[in-house]
Amino acid sequence: MYGWRGKLLRVNLSTGEIIVDQLDPKIARDYIGGRGLGIYLMNQELDPQCDPFSPENMIIMATGPLTGTKAPTGARYMVMTKSPLTGAITCSNSGGKFPAAFKQTGFDAVIFTGKADKPVYLVIENNTARLKQAGHLWGKTTHDTTDALVTETHENAKVACIGPAGENGVLFASIMNDKDRAAGRSGVGAVMGAKNLKAVVVIGDQEIPIADDAGFKAINKRLIDAFRKAAKENPPPLRLHGTAVTVMATQNYGVLPTKNWQQGTFDNWEKIHGETLTEKYLVSNSACFSCPIGCGRKTKVEEPGFEGQGEGPEYETVYAMGSNCMVDNLAAVTKANYLCNEYGMDTITMGATIACAMELYDIGLLTEKEVGRTLEWGDAKALVELTKQTAFRQGFGDLLAQGSYRLAEKYNRPELAMVSKKQEFPGYDPRGSQGMGLAYATSPIGGSHMRGDPAYFELLGVPKVIDRLEWKGKANLVKIWQDFFCVIDAAGLCVFYSVRNLGNSELEMLPTGILELINAATGANYTLEELAKAGERISNAERHFLVKAGFTRKDDSLPPRMTKEPLPDGTSGGSVCHLDEMLDDYYALRGWSNDGIPTPEKLSELGIA
């Protein structure tokens, strides 16, 4: 095969057996790879009702046909499993250098099942793989684990691993690769920890065979030349200031979640803005494999109490740990981000859970006795201290480790958790961004912006901006963008580059540029309709799994704060999210029942069994 490697690695952690399986070319074509291949395997092989922490659960790390190639941003892989946070699927996506090196070992994906007796790690080195003992690594941070594994395997090794949070079953533990890149969301690291799997080490240097090598090179040259030319007059804001530059947009739109989503603006927003990060803490930017943008932030903080260096924060971290907790101390936010990276935790859920705890404290349901300290809005030291306690499940951190929904539910106020399917929202208030509300509610992983991000066309001007407060017509766009994102994720590309450079630049986005790249790389000769259909197939296959796991319309929900409490401030003041109206439209457009279940006809049309 071209583009694809044609091989899957299967690792049974209970028995230690490792086998090489073939990638069925028809499945590769129908599901592309990455996220698509992952959900195909989950539907075929995993009991949707299983306990996420049981040996039965599987972890799939899957690349796409463009991962590890010279395609711009061909740097991504996807981690899929059944989530302990949500009970739904995960689609935790990450870039850096690890995914490309993984693909260059000769495999498209690795599938873990079972549970090891003792801590182990897997080494994949050019077509071979072996399990090794990891007892000496257990308890180490992600940074220390990475350094140790590079030392004991190979100087060119790339590492994905968990930290103490994953070992300790924090429900939102992440898998960190290349130290600071995160498959961040939904607790994928906790599933690894439950399997006693500390790390995956890849040592790969095989070039990926390309069907039309000359054609592929020509397309890439054209894309990169165009990007560089455009960047001369319009330098990518993400390169200059990172994703945290988005703060100024959400603040001005009145959708910057503040005080556990009680407000849409934050008075001290400039203190946590990306431009402030650049001025005060930026050391340099950094880029993933084959990326022309370079949005990563290498930073260093010297303020006493918050000293450290590493990567971040991203916009989502700045919202969750900053404005949402009313913390205007960017040094503290950055420090808490470093700790999440080193202990292996999702910064969004960490920050949002602390914000929820601050509200429970504010209204008197939580007290100093239970928290072990005061917990006023804006307490920067509490942010850092509770982040540490959460990773080790010490004191109040044991409760925070379960995420905001379980925390709020314990105090009989589950509606104060700003979640969909028990996963915390990213930083765009859907009361001022209607399509975003529908995207949160229908995302297969719960609250997420990366499964079809309406912020592009409602807030950020890509490909253009439409009325963010209007709900009519949004269902169609959310469906189209969700399916478009499925193709991006399955191909192994980055959303940031793809939305501006690999689509047709219409609101009704189609993967025209991805089509060119995939066809040249794989020789599969997709038509545009077939590729777009593959995106729709992935969306429906994910939904099919969720339905089998018991999810219906009642789970496609937003907390009443979003649908019943108008925003009190800012330029979205007075607005609520019209979710129910959009859901009716959405299900009809999807070919799903009014309860959100794909009809037999729709599944048959897409060939989903």
Binding site: P235, P237, M248, N252, V462, D467, T571
Partner: protein, 92 residues
């Protein structure tokens, strides 16, 4: 050129004869000095006039917000309007 006034020196910026301009990110380079400033308002003033005064070339991509709502360059401005300009962004 139409005079601009730095916001902090413009005590009367809230009076109904000015609009407030805020520039962000890569558009900051077009600021006449302050990142926030005011321009005198006049009837028939459109957002395009702000772009012209700041000499932002047509080829430079920008999102225009007027009072937090996305607007085209022919948007007619009213007294006390807040005009925000930033580049389109792919990422968050």
């Amino acid at each position: 050129m139409t005079a601009y006034q730095p916001l902090k020196n413009c005590r009367n910026w809230a009076l109904p004869d000015h609009v407030t301009i805020k520039l962000f990110s890569t558009l900051r380079q077009y600021t006449p000095g302050e990142k926030e400033f005011s321009l005198p308002w006049h009837s028939n003033m459109q957002a395009q006039e702000v772009l012209n005064i700041l000499k932002i070339p047509d080829t430079v991509e920008r999102v225009i917000l007027v009072n937090g709502r996305y607007s085209e360059s022919d948007k007619k401005l009213s007294p006390n309007d807040i005009v925000v300009l930033f580049p389109p962004m792919a990422g968050g």
